[in-house]
């Protein structure tokens, strides 16, 4: 071939673009995302239950004699963790919680998806309810379920009434749908209620 015929133009040099701005911006964004994501996505297999022990500080009523004493609520970290919540959901089925409470609507046991809580809605109350049992038919699972699994169940039970963030709460299950998925449940405002059943 003969060069020059097609009249090669000279290339124009372009200056390389500034990348740094993008990198820094991305980094900052990433840090923000990590904060939220790490909590939600952790798959803890050999996990320690939440720091506080439930036995202390569990109180079932707001009403107390004398001046108010401050409460130190138990923070159940599993409530932010999607894996723990899904494990809780699985255990809720496998340990027969669903046998009485079904998918939160109740049947043999009371409904768990509504705003009425006979024995308290706080994580430590629910923990106690599971471990100690309650007189109106709730069996005690003491010694039968490891603590961390109880906490997973506690987190899941609270998700039934929309108490946990919808980004961590379980989605619809691959079963016949009988109620809306936990993640879509409206957040109820729990009321302590000794309403007789």
């Amino acid at each position: 071939m003969r060069e020059g015929i097609l009249l090669f133009p000279r290339p124009a040099r372009r200056s390389p673009p500034a990348l740094r701005l993008r990198v820094v911006g991305m980094g900052a964004l990433a840090l923000l995302i990590f904060q939220a994501a790490c909590k939600r996505e952790e798959r803890g297999f050999r996990v320690q239950p939440p720091s506080a022990s439930a036995a202390e500080g569990s109180r079932m009523t707001d009403f107390q004699p004398g001046p108010r004493t401050p409460e130190s609520p138990v923070k159940n970290e599993y409530e932010d963790n999607a894996y723990a919540l899904s494990e809780g959901k699985r255990l809720f089925q496998e340990y027969n919680c669903s046998g009485c409470h079904f998918n939160g609507g109740g049947g043999i046991g009371p409904a768990l998806m509504d705003d009425e809580w006979l024995y308290g809605d706080k994580p430590e109350n629910i923990f106690e309810t599971i471990v100690e049992g309650r007189p109106n038919g709730m069996p005690s699972f003491r010694g039968k379920v490891p603590d961390y699994q109880v906490w997973q169940l506690v987190a899941y039970v609270r998700s039934l009434s929309g108490q946990v963030g919808s980004n961590a709460a379980p989605g619809r299950s691959d079963h016949m749908q009988t109620s809306s998925p936990e993640q879509s449940r409206p957040r109820e405002s729990p009321k302590l209620s000794g309403k007789p059943r």
Binding site: M1, P9, A12, L85, S166, S184
Partner: protein
């Protein structure tokens, strides 16, 4: 060749005086990208965008490679505790997804976006703003995936993400959502690129480049683009269905068998895309191989028509064998037989291509074993092995044994690394001077080739046997008693060699960019039109659009070969030609640089990333998208002035005078 002459008022051949310096200056001015960061964000130059694609995709290739290395370290010995199952699952999923969605398809379409306009002899792709949009969307998808991986939200259900494992019940959190949205992003980008490639190749060819003169690489890209158009919607729909199944407040039941959905539907949709995907990756590779073989054999392609027809038939048959990924599911025997037949028969067009290539090499001149050609030869050898194991996998009963084992891992890497990466590396060596004006270092190149070839076979050949010996895929570890340790160690050593090869390539790139031998404009003495301009090409590609008389325009160029004149140089104008004959049809003004592609991509990102967390992202994102689209379509210039300007017949004070007609 140019048969428009008879039509008065149309394009015609004449002798004219060209004011080259003036045209060049004006073209520079009207096609130049604005300098600085804004210019970088607003450019619509297909070459800048394609180079970004290539660099980004290659970075993702390196990321994917690092993940692969992590897996090979983990699997080097039994019961290794280097990565736990959680990390390993994320690593292999992100590896597969990266290589498929963020590397292989984008880098191949990027080569198309770079070279199709150059090879068909035009100034830009048909829709430059759309092209820029495609890149930003792709980049967002890639960043999303890696932000996910780094924040422990890496998808962990495999690049195939079978439901129900990836469904809302068994994949808590946002890991799979990130995967699904990454799919949507990359598929939008791929579809955009496919539209660009087809329209550019169909409408913007240089005068005279009739369909039967299109370079084989362009043919390959056109077939690929058509496959993308019909395959990608399936996975986009499927991943969107998966996302809505998982989305808070939406919770559809597409894949919930209990409510009438179907888990196998996912597999059908996925593989209806997934199998053509393999050909989407591999067919551009064949285009590269054809181009390189013709160049190095310095003779015309043996069986041009056969090669084109086999590309097209591969494209068609590629859609007829997705079920061979599902032979182990409970499917009717009859269906299996059909898909076995199709799976085995697709070897025929591949065979035709191999024979044509060998014949071209055989009949051509003495071959200089330069690095690009070495990669092509490595490709042929490797790909034949991959093709043969492909025939085995297509056989339903044998597939029952080897399906989902390391045999398949070996097969797919033979096909994809052998069939796409080797040609790709060849292409990078071959086209490096086109991009930089410098040749890559030949010694490092040979080292690179041999390291990669040996490393590759060392890594993947033992996997055939591992599969036959019962090692399933996607295992994070295995027991010492299985006896798979030795071969796995061998594979891991091979992976190290392969990595060394890739490092040699990187060194070569960085070294050659500065110190490579100056290449001149056509270092390989190639025949396709991208070599008919300078290296690197100017922003407007060609000072004058060339005309074409045969399949080998550069080899056969004559002093009297006409060039196109009369296109405006003060605005970005290109020539549209007839779809089949490539006769000049009309002039076509291409848009200037624009920020709107970036804005639209941002709106898209808000929509698709937002929808991971809330369904409200759909209406909000739709509104943002609408605003961005209005901005996109609303022209900047005044219509009256525009019209007035348009009625001007020719540039004034021109170097081209109509009076000088012959």
């Amino acid at each position: 060749m140019i048969n428009e002459r008879s039509k008065p008022g149309k394009a015609h051949i004449e002798t004219a005086t060209l004011d080259v310096e003036r045209d060049r200056a004006e073209l520079e001015r009207s096609w130049e990208t604005r300098p600085g960061f804004i210019g970088w964000l607003t450019t619509t130059n297909h070459k800048s965008i394609a180079i970004r694609y290539i660099v980004t995709a290659f970075i993702f290739f390196l990321f994917g490679g690092i993940l692969a290395a992590l897996m090979r370290i983990q699997l080097a010995r039994p019961r290794s505790e280097f990565l736990g199952p959680d990390a390993y699952d994320q690593v292999f999923t992100v590896h597969g997804s990266t290589m498929m969605f963020l590397f292989a398809v984008p880098i191949m379409t990027a080569l198309g976006l770079y070279f199709v306009p150059l090879m068909v002899g035009t100034r830009n792709v048909a829709f430059p703003k759309l092209n820029a949009f495609g890149y930003y969307v792709y980049l967002t998808g890639g960043i999303l995936l890696y932000l996910g991986l780094l924040s422990n939200t890496g998808p962990d259900t495999g690049w195939f993400s079978y439901v129900p494992l990836s469904g809302p019940d068994f994949a808590p959190g946002k890991r799979v959502d990130i995967w699904a949205q990454m799919i949507t992003f990359t598929e939008i980008a791929a579809l955009v690129a496919a539209v660009e490639i087809i329209v550019t190749a169909f409408k913007m060819r240089a005068p005279g480049m009739s369909l039967n003169r299109i370079p084989l690489f362009v043919w390959a890209m056109v077939v690929t683009a058509f496959m993308i158009i019909f395959a990608m919607p399936a996975i986009m729909l499927a991943s969107s269905m998966l996302a809505t199944d998982r989305l808070t407040g939406v919770s559809t039941h597409f894949f919930n068998p209990a409510e009438g959905g179907d888990a196998l539907l996912w597999q059908h949709l996925f593989w209806f895309f997934g199998h053509p995907e393999v050909y989407i990756i591999f067919i551009p590779g064949t285009g590269i191989v054809s181009t390189l073989i013709v160049t190095f054999a310095r003779r015309i392609a043996f069986g041009y028509t056969a090669l084109v027809l086999s590309l097209i038939s591969t494209g068609f048959i590629g859609f007829g064998l997705w079920v061979h990924h599902m032979f182990a599911t409970p499917l009717p025997q009859l269906g299996q037989s059909f898909f076995t037949g199709a799976s085995i028969m697709i070897a025929i067009p591949s065979g035709v291509q191999i024979f044509c290539w060998i014949a071209t090499l055989w009949l051509g001149k003495r071959l200089e074993l330069k690095t690009p050609l070495l990669f092509v030869l490595g490709f042929v050898f490797t790909f034949v092995i991959g093709g043969l194991t492909g025939v085995m996998l297509g056989s339903a009963p044998l597939d029952l044994q080897v399906h989902d084992t390391f045999f398949v891992v070996a097969h797919l890497h033979y096909v994809l690394i052998g069939g796409a990466i080797f040609p790709l590396f060849g292409a990078l060596y071959y086209w490096f001077p086109k991009w930089t004006g410098r040749l890559m270092n030949e010694r490092l190149g040979k080292l690179n080739f041999w390291l990669m070839l040996i490393g590759f076979h060392l890594t993947f050949f033992p996997m055939h046997q591992l599969g036959i010996q019962g090692m399933p895929r996607r295992v994070y570890t295995y027991l010492p008693e299985t006896g798979w340790g030795a071969l796995n160690l061998l594979a891991s050593i091979g992976a190290a060699v392969l990595t060394a090869g890739v490092i040699a390539f990187l060194i070569n790139v960085f070294w050659s960019r500065r110190h490579g031998a100056p290449a001149g404009d056509n270092p390989w003495n190639s025949d396709t039109l991208e070599w008919a301009t300078s290296s690197p090409p100017p922003s407007y590609n060609f000072l004058y659009i060339p005309t074409v008389r045969n399949r080998y325009p550069v080899w056969t160029v004559e002093p009297d070969t006409p060039v196109v004149a009369g296109l405006r140089t003060d605005v970005r104008e290109a020539l549209v030609t007839h779809t089949i004959t490539a006769a000049p049809d009309h002039r076509y003004e291409l848009p200037n640089s624009s920020i709107w592609p970036l804005v639209l991509a941002a709106a898209t990102a808000v929509t698709f990333i937002g929808v991971i967390f809330t369904a409200w992202a759909i209406p909000i994102g739709a509104a943002l998208t609408f605003i961005a689209l209005v901005g996109w379509f609303w022209p900047n210039s005044e219509p009256a002035a525009l019209e007035a300007e348009r009625h001007r017949s020719l540039p004034t004070g021109d170097g081209l005078s109509l009076e000088q007609q012959t």
